[in-house]
Symmetry: C2
Subunit: 222 residues, 2 copies
DNA sequence: AATCTAAATTTTATCTATAATTTATAAACC
DNA sequence: GGTTTATAAATTATAGATAAAATTTAGATT
C-alpha cells in the first residue's frame, strides 16, 4: 500500500475506499456520503467525488444522479457473471501469454501456488492466488484486457471475503498445478480448459446473518 | 442524443466528449484542457474533471496526474485487442442469450442487418451494426458483461470512423445472416463460432495523412 | 546558433462558499 | 390511525477563488 507522492488525493481516496469495500468493511448497499469521507480524509469533497467515479468504473460502487453513491451490492447471479467473464478473458489472455512464458515465470507461479496452499487466512490466500493468475497472463501484453481482468479480480476478492471473512481452511490447489504442468508441456489447449473450469468453480458456505438466521453464501475460489 | 433533465452536468459533458472522440473530431493524443472545455459548456471545471474520469473508464481518454488528460491514442495492436475481447465476450453473452431469443428479436436483428446493408455512410452503418449485435446478446441479462461490451463497441466505432471518415461502400453482411440462420435453427455453437470470427475481421484501407504520405489504416468491421 | 536558466504564463488540483435537491421530521387533515 | 402536506435538516452538485505544478517564453551565457 505505497502512497506515491505523485498520486492525486482523489486517487488515494479511491484506493482506500476500494480496499474497504473489497475487505467488506463497508456493507453492500451502504451509502457513501461525500462530506463524511471528505472530513475523514481531511480534504474537501471535490476529490472525493472524483474517487467515486473511479469506484463506479471498477464496479465497486453505483451512483444515481443527485441521490448519492452506494457500495455495489451483489448476488449469486453477479458472482456467476464475474466468474464467466474471468473464464473467457483469462483464457484469452493465457493463449496470448503462453508463447512468452519462461521457466522463471512458471517457477514463480508455482511458488505462488505453494504460498496459497499454506495460507492460514483468506487475505493471504487471495493475495497468492491473484499473484498466480497474474503471473501466467501478464506476458500477453494486452493492457486493456489485463485492466478489465484486474477489476474482475477485485470483484472476486470481494465475494470471497464476504463469505470467508474470518475462518479459512488451507487446501491444496490441484488446478494450479495441473495448469502449470500443461504449460510446461506446451499443451496450451489443456491449460486453457483447466483454467476456464477453475475460475468458474463457485464454493458455498452457510453464513450467519445479523438477525441470527443462516443463509448460503457463495464465492469464486479460483 | 436525449439530454435528460435528471442527468448531471458532468454526465452530459462526458457524453458530448465521448461522441466527439468516437467521431474523430478530436485527434488521438490531443490534450483535453479542463478550463477550455468548462468555458465552452458554460460551467466550472469541477464537472469537467468528473467527465474526464468517466472517459478514462471507457478507455477513451488517458490521464496522468498533474499533467492532464489526453484523448487515448491507438494502434493496430489495440484494435486487435478490442476485437479479441469482443469475440470472447460477445460469444459468452450470445450463449446465455440464445435460450431467450424470440422470433420477434431475430426479425428485428434481420431488419438491422438490412439497414446496415443499405447504409450509404459509415455512421448509419455503425449504428445499424451495433443494433444487430446488441439485439442478439441483450437477453443474456448480464449487466456487467453488457456494459463492458458497450465500451468495446465505442472503441470499435472510433477505429472505424478514423479509417472510413468520409467514403463508405455498401456491402452485404453475410455473417449477420449466417448467424441469424444458425440461431433460428437452434445451432448455438455454429452461431457462436461465426460471431467470433466475424468480430475479429479487421479490414485495412490506405489513408492519406496530413503530410501527404499514405499509410495503412485498420478497423474492425463486424 | 545552441543551450541553459529564470521569470512569466498556463494548467491542474484543491478548497471554501453557495445553490439546488433530496431525505427526514413534524404538524394538519380526513 | 394513517395519509398528506409543509417545514427543517442533510446531502449532492456546481461556482468561484487559491495554491501547486508543469509548461512556455525570454534572456543570458557559452
Amino acid at each position: 500500500m505505497v502512497k506515491k507522492k505523485e498520486d492525486t488525493i482523489a486517487i488515494r481516496i479511491s484506493r482506500a475506499l476500494a480496499e474497504r469495500i473489497i475487505a467488506g468493511e463497508i456493507d453492500p448497499g451502504a451509502k457513501l456520503r461525500q462530506d463524511h469521507i471528505a472530513e475523514e480524509f481531511g480534504t474537501s469533497h471535490v476529490p472525493v467525488r472524483e474517487a467515486f467515479r473511479r469506484l463506479e468504473a471498477q464496479g465497486l460502487a453505483v451512483s444515481e444522479p443527485r441521490r448519492g453513491v452506494r457500495v455495489a451490492s451483489f448476488d449469486l447471479g453477479e458472482i456467476r457473471e464475474v466468474a464467466e467473464m474471468r473464464a473467457a478473458l483469462e483464457v484469452l489472455a493465457l493463449r496470448h501469454a503462453a508463447p512468452h512464458l519462461t521457466k522463471a515465470i512458471l517457477d514463480e507461479a508455482e511458488e505462488a501456488t505453494r504460498a496459497a496452499d499454506k495460507s492460514r487466512d483468506v487475505r493471504s490466500w487471495e493475495e497468492a492466488n491473484r499473484r498466480f493468475h497474474r503471473l501466467i497472463i501478464t506476458p500477453c501484453a494486452m493492457p486493456r484486457l489485463l485492466a478489465t481482468i484486474d477489476d474482475l479480480h477485485a470483484a472476486s476478492a470481494r465475494f470471497l471475503f464476504s463469505t470467508w471473512r474470518t475462518e479459512w481452511e488451507a487446501t491444496t490447489d490441484h488446478d494450479h498445478r495441473a495448469i502449470l504442468a500443461a504449460l510446461r508441456q506446451g499443451d496450451i489447449d489443456n491449460a486453457a480448459s483447466i483454467l476456464a473450469r477453475h475460475v468458474q468453480r463457485i464454493s458455498r458456505k452457510p453464513v450467519k446473518t445479523a438477525s441470527g438466521a443462516v443463509r448460503e453464501s457463495f464465492a469464486i475460489v479460483g
